[in-house]
């Protein structure tokens, strides 16, 4: 699971009874600014009710007609923001947040949530993703079910494991194209998968060996160059070529250029293979299906989804 910072407070723009609506531009600006800072933002109107979302802290801002309905507490802070600009309201919100949270919200560099998501309606628990991934993103539950366990280990923008999944069961919701992005799977996608052969045999051996070998060749050419700029261009050219050779996998250049050493790859691949084998053995002895654990299989067949 991704390491994470404390949950930011929920902010409620209150426009219910006994309050005045925000000016339209203030409401819009404030909503966008708060979302961009990482806050969950809710808008309360007289038309309906908001539900508890489980936040430890809640900040309510509004233009109240009368005295505050409740006193603020450690967990709920209520503030009249009559006449204030969106920037000023944002400042008020952030001053209530813990100093650490303030720093976090102001930090421009946040982890881009890029990680695989498993469609258990399709997954057959074959463990190919576990065998393939060198970065320990995947793991297995005690019951032998494949699971994404270390999301932050995933290499940003690399969807390679979804390419090797024989069941089109791995999604990357922020990927550019379907069906990896979660789009419905069509007949063409299924035909492609049916034609997919074991990628290792396709490449005449271990895919990582092949990638590494090519990467080493690129590095070797790079090392012979004396001019830094030329060397850099040459390396980039080699990597682009390498990347284009593996276009089907859509592996970013950064990932290819940061592959570990051959020995490390072999050791990792061996470990992953062993874990996959153990999981498969556990699965066959327990008769576990991928959806047979936890609550995944309890979902009824999709209609709207």
């Amino acid at each position: 699971m991704a390491a994470h910072l404390p949950q930011l407070p929920r902010v409620i723009l209150y426009e219910g009874k006994d309050s005045q609506p925000f000016a339209a531009e203030v409401r819009q600006e404030l909503m966008v600014k708060l979302l961009d800072r990482g806050y969950t933002v809710s808008r309360a109107t007289e038309r309906g009710r908001l539900e508890n979302l489980g936040h430890e802290k809640v900040i309510v801002v509004g233009i109240f007609d009368r005295a505050m309905p409740l006193n603020s507490s450690d967990s709920v802070h209520i503030q009249d923001v009559r006449g204030q600009s969106s920037e000023s309201i944002l400042g008020a919100v952030e001053s209530f947040a813990l100093p650490r949270e303030q720093d976090t919200a102001a930090t421009p560099k946040r982890w881009k949530p890029w990680f695989p998501v498993i469609d258990y309606d399709r997954c057959t628990n074959c463990m190919q993703c576990l065998s393939f991934c060198l970065f320990d993103v995947y793991g297995v539950t005690k019951g032998g079910k494949i699971q994404v366990q270390n999301q932050t280990n995933c290499k940003t923008d690399c969807p390679a494991c979804s390419r090797v999944c024989p069941e089109v069961a791995i999604l990357f919701p922020k990927y550019k194209a379907g069906p990896i992005n979660g789009d419905e799977i069509n007949q063409d996608d299924l035909r492609r998968e049916a034609m997919k052969v074991d990628i290792s045999s396709l490449l005449g051996g271990d895919i990582y060996s092949m990638l590494r070998d090519r990467s080493e060749k690129a590095k070797s050419r790079f090392s012979k160059e004396r001019d830094d700029d030329r060397a850099l261009k040459e390396r980039q050219r080699c990597l682009d070529k390498l990347k284009s050779n593996f276009d089907g996998l859509d592996i970013p250049t950064e990932v290819l250029s940061s592959l570990p050493s051959m020995d490390q790859i072999q050791a990792k691949a061996q470990r992953a293979k062993e874990r996959a084998q153990q999981a498969l053995e556990m699965q066959s002895s327990a008769g576990t299906s991928p959806g047979g654990e936890e609550d995944v299989s309890k979902n009824p067949p999709a209609t709207q989804i």
Binding site: A24, L35, R47, R49, H55, K112, F115, P173, A302, I305
Partner: protein, 146 residues
């Protein structure tokens, strides 16, 4: 007044996979309407963090989620241990639909929903520590005001 379906809007931060004009346009219409709604910076991030809010959202009756592909949304919730009921949850896709299409569908969903119960007018459930149970929640209630 009929019970409206809860609305959740995802801003999809970090990536430019949602057309800017669509996510901005839909938010503008939500903000200009009188619908109460919740908005979150990024459902993917929440899923990766196992954000407890996802469980609360999944438990809501007939929630309408304005985000991206329904299959992606479903399994993001599932990955966080908050499976959503595909028969009760409606997902509107800002990756493939225009602002008008999303908005029309949202209005249709809201108007098609039969009145099941009358909401407590002016009541806003705020949550707070240990607020998983309804009895433990803090509310702003108009009657509470002096």
């Amino acid at each position: 007044m009929s019970e409206q379906r809860p609305i959740l809007y995802c801003r999809c931060a970090f990536a430019k996979v949602l057309p800017e004009e669509v996510k901005d346009g839909v938010l503008q219409r939500l903000v200009a309407s009188d619908f109460p709604f919740d908005s979150v910076p990024d459902l993917c991030e929440m899923s990766a963090k196992n954000d407890p809010s996802l469980k609360e959202i999944a438990a809501q009756e007939n929630v309408c989620i304005v985000a991206c592909y329904p299959r992606a949304v479903r399994w993001l919730f599932d990955a966080a241990g908050a499976p959503i009921d595909p028969q009760r949850v409606k997902v509107l896709n800002m990756r493939t639909e225009s602002v008008d299409e999303v908005w029309d569908e949202l209005l249709a969903v809201q108007s098609a929903d039969p009145a099941t119960s009358e909401p407590a007018s002016g009541e806003t459930n705020l949550g707070g520590p240990n607020s998983a149970g309804a009895d433990e929640t803090t509310s702003i209630t108009t009657q509470d005001r002096g």
